[in-house]
Each structure stands twice: as C-alpha cells, then as structure tokens.
Subunit: 306 residues, 2 copies
C-alpha cells in the first residue's frame, strides 16, 4: 500500500437548482497533500467549513464551465481566503471569460487580494496537460455540453519502487544505492557486490487516477481520454426515462454514466449532478448497477479513498 | 391590531467571512404580502429553502452595496428563479455597477432569463423614495462605508381607519358610506342621518416601519433619516473593545448601534453582521442593552413580527 493519500470529498451533488439537502457541484481532491478544488458552486466555502476541510491548503481550483452552479461560489471563496490571511499563490483553471468576471467583481467591490491569483485558460478541443509537479499531473478533457466545458483527469506520477525492508536490514547498502534501487536500477552494496533490483524491491502500487466528467452528454470518444481510470465521476442529471430531456440539455442519464464506466474500464463509478426533480436517489443507483455494479452516489460529505 | 403582516426573517447574520453557523447578510421582509429580499449573501437561496420561505414571491431585491458578503448569492438566486419557471418581473435596487456584473455573468454563462429583470440604481447622497405601491413605500438611505452603501427604510402607507363593527351592526349604512368612514370622512346613513366619523371608527394602528442599516460606521446624522422607526437593524461587526478596528473598517460596535437606537427613538434594535472572530454573541447583547434594553440578535431563522 502506498502511504500517499488519494482522497475525494464530495461537497455538492445537485444539478442547477440546489435542494434542501443537495448543494451545487464542488469536490475536494487530495493527492499526496495537494488539495485540488474541482468546481465551486454557491456555498462551497460553507460546505468546506461544515466538513472541516482545509481551506487554505487549496492551491489549485479547476472550473469545468461557466454555468452558475459550477462557479458561483468562487468569488466568495477567493474573498474568504483573502480575509483569512492567505499569502500563497492560487491558480484557477477554467474558461478565459472567468477571469473577466472575477476581475469585474473585484473592481466594483474594490477588492484587492493579498495573494497572487493566476489564471490558466482551458480549451475544449483536445486533452491537454494543464498542471504537473513531481507527484501529480492534471489533464483537461473536452466534454460536450451547451457551452464550452472541460472535464479533468488527475493522475499520480510513476511512484518509486518499494524497498523490501526485511531484506535490506540484512544487507549493507548506502543511501545513494538505495535511491537507485527505488528508481528501478540495479545497485552495488558496500562490499562491492552487485544487487539485482528485483532482489531488494517490490512493485509500487499502480499510479492511481481520477476523472471528473460534468456536465456532458454521453459520447463514446470520451472513453479514450479516460481509459483505465481508477475512479470515475460522471454526471447523471437524469434517469433513463428522461433520456430525451438529457439529450436536449446536453446532460447524461445514470444508464449512460454506467455505459461510460464500462467503456473506460474504470474500477468505480460515482454518480452526481442530480436534477432537483428527484427527491430520492435509489433509482440512480439501481439503473447504473444493472450495467456497472461498482457504482456509488455522490453524497455531500462522503469521502472516497483509493 | 392590523391584519396586515409585517414580518422580518433573518437569513444571514455574519460579516465578511461566514462561519459554520452564520451565513452572510440576507433578510426577507414581508409587508402586506409584499416580499422584499434585503441583501443576498452567498447561500441565500439555500437559506430560503431551509426556512421554507417563498422563493417566487420575491419581486423586489434591495442590495446595500457591492462587498461580496452582501450580493454573491444574487446570481444563483436569479438563476434558480428562472429554472423554477418564474415569469413575473423582478426589480433589483442597488449600485449601478451591479447591473454590469450580472449582465457579464449572464453573457458568459449564456443565461437568458425567462422573466423581465429591472434595475433601479441607488445613489448615496440623500434619502430617496425608490419604491411605492398602495400599501408600502421604500426609501434608500446614505450610509458611510468604504464603498458606496445605502440602507433601506420600509414604511407602511397610512392605513384605513377601522370600523367599529359592534356599532355598525346596529346601524343602516351603505358600503359606499362605509368606505368614506374608513378614509376618515363623515358619512350619511340610509335614513339620511349624518354620522360623525368618530362615532363609528377606531384609530388604525400606527404605520409601521423597519430600517436596515448595514454596513456603516456610526454617524449621528443617520438618526434623522430613520427617526421614530419601529424596528431598527443596525450592524455591529465588533464589540466596543474593537472600536478602533470598527473605525478603520467603517463598521460599528454594539454600543454604537445601541446609541443609534436611542437617537432614532426606535422601539426595538436588532444587531447583526457579526465578525467571524466572535464565537459567542452574548457580549453583543450585554453591551447594547446597557444603553438600549430592547435589543435582540439577528440569528438565522429568527422571525421578528410587528
């Protein structure tokens, strides 16, 4: 098992109109203590307080598109970070026009943030690497919605091989040589004997990945961009009985989300972005599980760990 | 007692940064079934759902100023009204730049509201009548804050005199003549006898009024604009121990709010807009009550009836 965290917290699961129990879209993803906020619907800052999520740890915010239920919480989130003393740089990934909106709001409210705010513009013509550091890479993915929309794919970078500590204790190997072994190379012990990598190391766990796909109509080509993803969030605004409405509004049904899970060969599917017309969500689960059994619902406060 | 409703529901009581229990400023005032939304901080639409307030009954929204904690809930509120099928005209009262912000957000999210949206621009140089119908009038009031800010004064129009039904039963008076009596005029009964107004009518209850004053530093002249108001909401971001900080940030202390209540000769004071630094609010009440005993705290969900 990796000691590196890979955890997704659901902050909001509703479609355009929130309900008494469901907040608009927002998720907090923690990979190796990088906190990625994904969409930021109205009330996200209150939801983070409610679930005691670490506010100032967020350095990257990914906005899928400019329908209000995916970003109306952003101005308040930025303001509270400022008022609570943030100094660290923050980067927002999203459509170009988002910067215009934020700048205008700040201008008219005479807001001057005490921290540097960067924008990285997304485009939705092809899959693009938009962020990477030594442990994580993030791609934007074209989705098909009424306005320009991107999903996001979060992937761990190749992990070091694990050293077999029991075997290592019996040997005499320097730190420099251990580092070589972790990278998959052979090494030499302090007595000059060569060590084959396989003698002292174990396979690292697979690089884990998470794909966020909201909002979009079902389209088969998406599966190429998210092939073999471990955890897939796919919107399911409607049940299949409303497939016509889904098509009209460029949304998906629970059945279609499950079909995408199959096509993408994922391990687990999370459904979300439920229309306010549905009081109970059991039918979403039933509909999807007929096609893809390992399906769960996005519920506010729920944590998915890989 | 008047049968006309005059009720204020508190939807949010926090200053700039919300806390786990306190939402940013929003209030819903019902005078004679006119529903006035006063400020619209982030999460107002969720708060209205929580307290089962009538969403679509709001036809007038009054925004005090363009600091985010007073209007970041507005775009989401407007969008949900649209999605829930609103057709009726809605009017927003606030600074001119608010229209620019809303228009830009709607442009980039390709939002086309299904109902007419009007803007009435406020200015903060003098008290202005900005709305009236047959039962209510609303004035904007200049406040003194870091950016252009207005308070609002809501007043019932003169009410009809009440007919003394016990006396009326013993007499023979036409509907037309009863209407004259309600208006304060004398009348003639069906036998041609004159009736002095005082014989058959009782005084109506006093025209009730509510003043909303947030955000502002303390300044004595404000009391002239809200003289004799029945119910006064006055911000108290800080306790008196932070009077310096209040002055610096153009806010008020609980003590200053109480002083304003005395100067304005009000019946009841409501304190609100509490800084997130205060976990408990008892001291606000204690501090204000030393000067103005009939003080209460704005607490989410609380209803004040006149």
């Amino acid at each position: 098992m990796s000691t590196q965290t890979f955890e997704l917290l659901i902050l909001g699961s509703s479609a355009a109109t929130p309900t008494a129990n469901r907040n608009p879209t927002a998720q907090l993803l923690n990979i190796a203590e990088r906190f990625f906020l994904i969409d930021c619907g109205e009330g996200t800052q209150m939801q983070m307080r409610k679930y005691k999520a670490r506010f100032q740890s967020v350095n990257h915010i990914f906005i899928s598109h400019l329908h209000g239920d995916h970003f109306y919480g952003l101005p308040g989130f930025l303001a509270s970070m400022h008022l609570l003393g943030r100094k660290n740089e923050l980067t927002i990934y999203g459509p170009k026009e988002l910067e215009e909106i934020i700048n205008m709001i700040h201008k008219h409210s005479e807001t001057y943030l005490n921290y540097p705010l960067n924008f990285v513009y997304t485009q939705n013509t092809s899959k693009q690497l938009i962020f990477e550091d030594e442990k994580v890479e993030v791609y934007s993915l074209p989705l098909k919605h009424r306005i320009a929309t991107t999903g996001y794919l979060f992937k761990e970078k190749p992990l070091f091989r694990n050293i077999d500590k029991y075997k290592l204790e019996k040997m005499n190997v320097s730190f420099a040589e251990i580092h070589k072994l972790k990278q998959g190379l052979d090494a030499i012990d302090n007595n000059g004997n060569s060590i084959k990598n396989g003698e002292l190391t174990l396979d690292p766990i697979k690089q884990r990945s998470y794909a966020f796909c909201s909002d979009t109509k079902f389209f088969q080509e998406l599966s190429n961009d998210i092939k073999d993803v471990d955890l897939l969030y796919h919107e399911s605004t409607f049940l299949e009985e409303k497939a016509d409405r889904a098509k009209q509004t460029f949304h998906s049904t629970a059945k279609q989300a499950a079909q995408m899970a199959v096509l993408a060969n994922t391990q687990k599917l999370i459904l979300g972005h439920f229309s306010a017309r549905y009081g109970h969500l059991e039918e979403f689960l039933e509909e999807a599980k007929l096609i893809f059994p390992n399906t769960e619902l996005a519920i506010e406060g729920q944590l998915f760990s890989l």
